[in-house]
């Protein structure tokens, strides 16, 4: 059913009927996959389609329930990552498998199965980093490095093992467009050296540009093999999602003389922990009716910025942040909510929701102060029927799929939990909402629904601030876009005037210093 471009006929890797079951869920259902020598093979699929499960089985981190793996035509069992490395399979993880308290060289050493001295490793790593244009300081503590630098360590660590097959899991999700271009050069060079690459992504344009063949997964099954160059981004997306992909509709905003709902005047913050970022003199104003997007590579201060606006961390002066004209700098999160603001953090489990608590209790989590009358009775008694009722309303409003009447938050899929969390805040009709990574790890259907809900809220007269790493998403929802880099925020520009290249440069750190003051709202 699929032919390979392998030179000598035998594919490098062949997978037949690979299956993995978690409880009731078939994460991978009888997967077939063939990767030829010297090819860049794309593995496409939505969040939750089974991509990560599949590659973890190939790398020996997960044990398949059934199925066979052939390496150079030989049947093999890969029961641990060490064995995978011995065969010649290397992996660059999406969420990095690095150790912050150790140096780059020590991190590399840990995945080498022989006893090379740390100095020899540092030297080799240095050589490789020069050869492939991936600058790296072997003795830097990983905790001090940016995400881009961390990915370089992962790649070099992988290359040092001289693998035949390199698996990259969503490598560009943490890179600026320019950094991604550099990565593609490296990958193309590896291909020219005869290495094979399994490239996992949901970014279709780069797959079309880079990959020779593609395998598409949906709900744990292979739904097709194709040559991505022959396809359009739309047709690939259709294969992934299984239906027509909906993009949010964004009617024009009329904000010329709208009221100012959020203003940030010279927000600065010292780094809170050893590895966190300082915020430097951030200025921003937002008016009723608009969606403002903040782009940036992960770890450039977005989390710190969110905490500062939400009031989880307060400021020294009240005037630094104003919500609907009220100075709130010294107020906590509950008081800011009372002013009409709502917040959706990046981390769903453990920040936006308490994993082991029921949905109705999680409703109370952000609403007990704003809806005291409805949800609390005498002696601070919780009115269980009222919160159950409200949570039912949100579940049906946002089409949250769940397995029980009032399940624990942790039992929901990422997309459904995010729909609930966003729904919980929208249900209040907030006049300002700040959302960090609204659709990270969310399937396309849920993502479309969330984006549309945010736009609709803005057009109803609220200010919506979206922090996201996903540039496509930002272009889809935002009226204006600003970029955060190293704790500084560039001045927002209308989305129509922004280009990928321009955003990329800002994400990489050029121009921000000069433009960060004086917001042109």
């Amino acid at each position: 059913m699929s032919q390979t471009r392998a030179v000598d006929g035998t594919p490098l890797l062949e997978v037949k009927g690979l299956t993995k079951v978690f409880g009731q869920l078939k994460a991978c259902d009888s997967i077939d996959l063939t990767i030829g020598k010297g090819e860049i093979h794309a593995l496409l699929g939505e969040n939750g389609a089974g991509k990560s499960t599949l590659v973890k089985m190939l790398f020996g981190s997960l044990e398949p329930a059934s199925g066979e793996i052939f390496w150079n035509g030989q049947g093999v069992t890969i029961s641990n990552p060490g064995q995978a490395r011995k065969l010649g399979i290397g992996m660059v993880f999406q969420h990095f498998s690095l150790f912050e308290a150790l140096t780059a060289a020590e991190n590399i050493m840990l995945s080498l199965d022989d006893d090379t001295s740390i100095l020899a490793i540092a030297e080799k790593a240095h050589g490789l980093s020069k050869a492939y244009g991936l600058p790296l300081d072997p003795f830097a503590l990983v905790g001090d490095l940016s995400v881009g630098e961390r990915q370089r360590i992962e790649i070099i660590r992988c290359l040092l093992q001289e693998p035949e097959l390199i698996i990259l899991d969503e490598p560009t999700s943490v890179l600026t467009p320019q950094e991604a271009d550099k990565l593609f050069e490296t990958l193309e060079r590896l291909r020219s050296e005869g290495k094979s690459i399994l490239y996992i992504s949901h970014r279709l344009e780069e797959v079309k540009r880079l990959c020779d063949r593609a395998t598409v997964l949906r709900h744990g099954k292979v739904v097709g093999h194709c040559d991505p160059r022959q396809e359009t981004a739309a047709s690939l997306a259709r294969m992934m999602v299984g239906s027509e992909v909906i993009t949010a509709t964004r009617p024009p905003a009329a904000i010329a003389d709208a009221t100012e709902l959020l203003s940030i005047c010279g927000l600065s913050r010292k780094p809170a922990g050893p590895f966190s970022v300082a915020l430097k003199n951030i200025w921003l104003t937002m008016k009723a009716g608009e969606v403002l997007g903040i782009a940036g590579v992960a770890g450039n201060g977005q989390g710190e910025f969110f905490e500062a606006i939400s009031g989880e961390v307060t400021q020294e002066s009240p005037d630094v942040i104003r919500i609907r004209g009220n100075p709130v700098g010294k107020l906590g999160i509950s008081e800011r909510r009372l002013m009409g603001a709502a917040f959706v953090p990046e981390e769903r489990l453990g920040h936006g929701a308490a994993p082991r608590m029921k949905l109705s209790e999680n409703l109370l989590l952000s609403r007990f102060k704003t809806d005291t009358k409805a949800f609390l009775g005498k002696f601070g008694m919780v009115r269980t029927s009222a919160i159950a009722e409200a949570s039912k309303r949100i579940v049906s409003e946002m089409d949250v799929r769940k397995s029980a009447e009032d399940p624990e938050a942790a039992s929901l899929s990422g997309g459904n939990l995010q729909k609930f969390i966003i729904g919980r805040e929208l249900d209040r009709q907030p006049s300002v909402i700040i959302v960090n990574q609204p659709t990270w790890g969310v399937d396309a259907g849920a993502a479309a629904r969330i984006r549309q809900a945010l736009i609709d809220l803005a057009r109803g007269g609220s200010a919506v601030l979206v922090i996201s790493q996903d540039l496509d998403e930002l272009f889809e929802v935002s009226d204006r876009i600003a970029v955060m880099h190293d704790g500084q925020l560039s001045s927002p520009l209308p989305a129509a005037e922004m280009t990928l290249e321009r955003i990329g440069l800002l994400m990489g750190g050029s121009q921000t210093a000069t433009e960060s003051k004086g917001d042109a709202a």
Binding site: G23, I333, G352, M357, L365, G380, S403, E408
Partner: protein, 369 residues
Amino acid sequence: MRLELVKRPQQSRAFSALSPFIAFGLTIIAGAILFAALGKNPATTLYYYFVEPLMEVWSLHELAIKAAPLILIAVGLSVCFLSNNWNIGAEGQFVIGAVVGSVLPVMFPDFQFWFVLPLMLIMGMIGGAAYASIPGILKVRFNTNEILTSLMLVYVAQLFLDWLVRGPWRNPAGMNFPETRTFHSYAILPEILPASGRAHWGFVFAIIAAIVLWFVLSKTLKGFEIKVLGQSPRAGRFAGFSAGKMTLFAFAVSGAMAGLAGISEVSGAIGQLRPAISPGYGFTAIIVAFLGRLNPLGIVAAGLVLALTYLGGEAAQISVGLSDKVVRAFQGMILFFVLACDTLIHYQIRFVKSKAATASLAAAQVPNV
């Protein structure tokens, strides 16, 4: 063979309710083996341990006397443990509560009015709460590990009591025994039913405390706050709750409970201060709290069970000559089984044959962990 845990999508309600019983059953089995190993007939010994003390009314009173401090302390500890504050110094707070509560009858023996007793109880609670607040404040202010500081303060409190009863508070008419003067009648916590046994009002306090805290924990916003901050502190901060204030609150509440237990024990059961006023109630209460699954009503039941082990230990010593030291070993075992059984609430346990193990004999003999 490998033991594998599979996370349940939901907590198992069945095992939430059953796990303390399974744990207790396992402890009984382990206890039987232990008694047999010590050369005693397991059936008889278990009978003396767990049945005989329940057969007579006066003995039920004794049970209530032992259960009262355990329940009071454990109920307070449940607030701490649920909010992820590890107060393990209740033994010290018990002692300080007893000391502060005893100030009036010991230092002002002629001050004899009906309101002396209520004052003593209040002072005991304040004393316990203040002493517990030391590790609480240190944790909030200086980020100091509360487990270690609260425990160190136990030793300090015990030495302080020792100094008092041998030094400044020694009974002037007590033939140099290390003990204070006996409390006057206004300072004695009365018995509930003097006709049938010695049980004092401390047990009633324990039941009231359990009911009040059960209500707070399961029905109110405060209870929600305690649980959220304990389970996911970040989500708690997002909700607008303050972890620091919660730490102070939890330590103060549990200290007050332990202090009340201390002064109740001294004015109800002992009648004076001595160098040792507790057979480790503060530590045993940790076991009670977990056996009761941190639920105040469960803690009442668990407190009675652990109180029974104290009485049973005495009974078994008298009737079959089993050392009273066995009691603490027995109590320790209960906690182990409780913790192990709680795993069943969140996980299913499966035994799987590892593929690697079946592949080669050599691999099968390596313990698979």
